[in-house]
Symmetry: C2
Subunit: 229 residues, 2 copies
DNA sequence: AGGAGTTTGTGAACGGGAGAACAAACTGAG
DNA sequence: CTCAGTTTGTTCTCCCGTTCACAAACTCCT
């Protein structure tokens, strides 16, 4: 029982909470940079753009890191959240598909500064090979397996066209990658135990378009209803 | 009452459903390109990566567009979903911040092909001005207001560094934009009635990192528990 | 020491979404 | 026309997440 987990907190953090922890972490880093030593749940919640009750409940899943009547020590909480997410260590990442988006991702400074290290850029197009992007040279896709094993890569990023994405994902899983961030506009099929998160630009825009349209329609309906009401 | 909405469907589509409609739409387009005329909820659900019961429930919010015992007409359903989302018309979009990511977004073909037209690229850096990216020339940020009014832009994309994002958002809202897609790693404050969707690359990676760590810990704990169990 | 004021952590109520299960409705064969 | 087979649309139940509200716990002032 003592060996089951490192702490005796309940170890099942709700998915919705996990998705917010990085937001809290960023807010805490900003506060720390501003010289703030201590903050209340209300302040942190405002900085993170959430309800303070939700923030407190989220933090309560990690443990009891605040002091009643005082608030939270910024540095201490920052470390605890970072530890819980796992960003106290460095995560090696491979990016496959060095088109426009791949370039942008490779150059994105937010990765490096948050504990993610791009260990390889891979592309199937031989024309790209040996080109250097963001200080890393582009290698043939076939080297995926070797690189994953060599660097113990657990996270892969897919930035290829849609048609290639499933093949890339299959090869990633085969090579031992267990978490995939997919930018290709396709539904990926993966075995149980492999996590996939997708970022789909056109879907995000379509969701916004729906709301624009709905707001426009509500505005019209509203003006009509003013007559009848 | 007849004028309240164009159809007599219930007009409150759940947010979770709205987020999936674009996925269904894409699956239907793929099916249509393959020459499929008709599909069952089971087939479409598989293509979209969801449960068939969930798919049917989602579609039921739009209306009753299937035929029992037969399935859905691919073209007809495709049109109905496109109309519901609003992508039967063209949406003008402005992109602010033409760095690596802005370049990638401007060149992303998925926008144009799904009814989104980039009418302007704006950047505060004078060094970028008059450069042509993806057939559109980069203009000074100050021209935002004029462009929004001229083209009736409702959707803005923020691809600036984090420090500039809130200012850009404020100016967008002031200019009349009601929907924002934010790629900057910041929490944006906007008035009621303005929709913001955020895409945060490092947060996505951090969520994946948490799961990798958890899986690794579970593996270790599992091997320990084999001893005690 | 004691009491007023503040803030956390959590129990409980509430709302929304997911999935199972089934009745309604259609097709096609005999 | 009837009946077996198929597939949708919907109801019902369960679970997760959000929010409210409050007791517990700490600080500071007198």
């Amino acid at each position: 029982m003592s060996a089951r987990t490192s702490n005796d907190h309940a170890r099942d953090i709700p998915e919705a909470t996990v998705a917010r922890l990085p937001v809290y972490l960023r807010a805490l880093i900003t506060l720390a940079e501003q010289g703030t030593m201590t903050c209340s749940s209300e302040e942190l919640a405002t900085a993170a753009g959430v309800n303070s009750a939700k923030l407190r409940k989220d933090l309560s899943y990690l443990g009891s890191y605040g002091t009643r009547g005082v608030g939270y020590d910024v540095e201490y909480l920052r470390y605890q959240i970072a530890r819980e997410i796992g960003v106290t260590q460095d995560w090696p990442v491979v990016i496959v598909g060095i088109g426009n988006l791949g370039h942008a991702l490779a150059n994105y400074s937010g990765f490096r500064s948050r504990g993610f290290r791009v260990v390889a850029l891979l592309d199937a197009d031989p024309g790209m090979h040996d080109e250097v992007v963001a200080g890393v040279d582009v290698r043939p896709f076939d080297e995926l397996e070797g690189i994953v094993v060599e660097h113990s890569v657990a996270i892969g990023v897919i930035a290829t066209p849609a048609v290639a994405a499933q093949d890339v994902a299959d090869r990633m899983v085969e090579a031992g990658i267990t978490s995939i961030l997919n930018f290709a506009p396709t539904v990926l099929g993966v075995p149980d135990g492999v996590d996939v998160r997708k970022v789909d630009l056109s879907i995000e825009l379509q969701i916004l378009a729906y709301h624009v349209q709905r707001k426009a329609a509500a505005g019209l309906a509203g003006s009509v209803e003013e007559d009848s009401a």
